[in-house]
Amino acid sequence: MDLTMMVEAAVVLSSGLKLTLTLTALALAAGFILSVPLAFVRAFARPALSLSVLAYTYVFRGTPMLVQLFLVYYGLGQIEAVRTSIFWVVLRDPFWCALLTFSLNSAAHTTEILCRGLQSVPKGMTEAAAALGLKRFQTARLVTFPIAFRISLPAYGNEVVGMIKGSSLASTVTLLEVTGMARQMVSTTFAPYEIFIVAGAIYLLLTSIAVKITQVLELHLATDGKSSLRRRTRLKTALPGATTP
């Protein structure tokens, strides 16, 4: 173990942190936006529609993300129509290929997670919403989805961790995120222990932060007696400030 090498590695690898975080955050955001309507279709739509969403999630969850990435990065260029289309500007670029793959993959996982959450929302809740005169979209937006999201949160936390780890695959299509930087540095210095351990530590830090945020969010969104009490006390102290604007 060479400590100065590890410090040097930490400095070099940190420069890849921005790309890792960008890829992860954008893929998670795109995946989430895509998965919300898909989850509703998967959970409540007619069998034909629900099964076509299942086909999408099944294929994306059943094959390695590395294969999907190579399929997009190397495979799509084989189709003449893609090469001549305007999308080629985007699909030629490894960053957009990685982002597209990660987003589609994350959307497939998130769809199944949210679908399970949607299906476990008690039927009485939606019936109560209907009895109150809420329209179907309002029920979905104000009742079903918030409850389903709270149920899905622990599983979604795992998906966030999985995406942080999965972003390391971007290094296989020449992107220089944390793993890409590490591989490049190892090939010039040949100090695999120091550099890969530092890379692992960086990922461990990121995933630990993600786990912590999920736990805090879970506590915050919990509806058991303790937290509603806390919310009420907070409301009282916030009241004087609320009069100022």
């Binding site: 294929v59 059943g62 094959t63 390695p64 993300m65 590395l66 294969v67 999907q68 190579f70 399929l71 190397y74 495979g75 799509l76 260029g77 084989q78 189709i79 961790v161 942080i164 780890k165 999965g166 972003s167 390391s168 695959l169 290094s171 296989t172 793993t179 590490a182 591989r183 190892v186 040949f190 100090a191 695999p192 222990y193 890969f196 351990i197 890379a199 692992g200 990922y203 461990l204 995933t207 630990s208 786990v211």
Partner: protein
Amino acid sequence: MNGFVSQFAGALLITAGLALVSGFVGTSVGLLLAIAKHTHTSRMVGLITAYTTVVRGVPELVIILLIYFGGTALASAIAGRYVEVNAFTAGVIALSVVFSGYATEVFRGAIAAIPAGQAEAAKSLGLSAWQRWLLVVAPQMWRLALPAYGNLWISLFKDTALVSIIGLTDVMRVAFVGAGSMRAPLSFYLAASALYLSLTTVTLLSIRLAERRYPALGR
């Protein structure tokens, strides 16, 4: 093209072999760690928790690269000349480490879900520690762990594709080489996807069958 069919067949055996060996090693280590976590002192528990946290928080790719290149550096330092670690061995070690990290947590959760009265009753009947674990805890634990344990196997089959990056001629590697030499990446990666999808489908069906055959007791 026919040459690639036989290459894919051989590669499929390597992929399946890699997953099976890593899965069994990982299961054994995971079981031992879960039992140790259940029975041992707090320092031991802390060590095991640290192990599972680190393994589950670091990308599989980084673990594979660390063991392959780190192993090569270590072997070279010991031998005094350049020695390259076999990619299959490095893959088995790396994937076993990953699998054991997750399996420990799955088994620990299942053991914790068995009511404490079960082991206490077994103890009061005069069963030895071995008998308690084998006859009372294991049959209940394994049924509770089955769904989550099955998911680990599906992830494992997908993770084997990462070992192609360090040069193992598995399905992914054959697809990569074929895609380059035949200039048909789309067809080769689609073929690879189909092979991986069939592997995960077979795994999924086996788990469903096992779940039906061994449902959780007393529910």
